[in-house]
Symmetry: none
Subunit: 152 residues, 2 copies
């Protein structure tokens, strides 16, 4: 599982350093190449390829006679890219993905369970500003909806 938050930047050539901790983790516990895809809420999801493969399998198993499923599949795969780390541990983020995610120069990189999320710094801040509720309150809402609670 990926944990922690990092503030990095993207150079003129669209390259971004993967935080060293994630780098090691990927090399020790996962397979390369990495898969970069446009995720929810206008940020990028970065997966090791073995993790991504499971998601693709699920995508494949969805009912493709359903037009909403087809649309979902196409929209996901449209914005999915394979990336390799260079010797300095950097990846290139394509102009398309950068644009889709509104990424300028400064990014926030967050370890989020089985994936790494890459956010434009400003977008990240406004996301969390909008959703600034206490953890207690969020937990309560989920609990009210019948979503299983978590005991800390």
């Amino acid at each position: 599982m990926f944990r922690g938050i990092f503030h990095n930047s993207i150079d003129d050539k669209g390259r971004m350093s993967i935080p060293a901790r994630f780098r090691d983790q990927i090399q020790n516990n996962h397979t390369t190449p990495l898969v970069l895809t446009l995720g929810f809420d206008q940020c990028l999801f970065l997966y090791p390829s073995d993790t991504w493969q499971k998601i693709e399998e699920k995508l494949s198993s969805m009912d493709s006679l359903n037009s909403e499923v087809r649309q979902f599949q196409r929209t996901v795969m449209k914005a999915t890219d394979e990336v390799e780390m260079d010797q300095q541990g950097r990846i290139v983020i394509s102009p398309v993905l950068r644009k889709e995610a509104g990424i300028a120069k400064n990014v926030v990189i967050v370890g989020l369970l089985n994936r790494v999320e890459i956010w434009d710094k400003q977008k990240y801040e406004s996301y969390h500003a909008q959703t600034s509720q206490t953890l207690e309150l969020m937990g309560q809402k989920l609990s009210d909806k019948g979503i299983q609670d978590i005991n800390f």
Copy 2:
């Protein structure tokens, strides 16, 4: 289980000594690295990674197509960090976490069952000042609400 209360301080580099008793306990009964996260009531929760892993598994199993679930996951992981003890038994608390928990220099470290809590000294004192009821009264309240009692 962690027990006891300690008063330590944080140096200019954001380092804090783990009380020796907890240190030994972690090394004997648990796995490193440690996981530090913003908990309830503005204090930090410190878990051995094996304990934390169970929480992460629950988080992972939630439905990530639901935007409120994503928000909850992100809010938890946003303020979650992996930390290693140095040879002196200290951990580094990141500026982000220090800010979120309002930690200045003096901290109170409390063993709380399966976790260790780290409080800013002032916050700790005002928390207990506000909630200064007798134990008998608290127990009565819980009992009245139908929350299972504890037999001492």
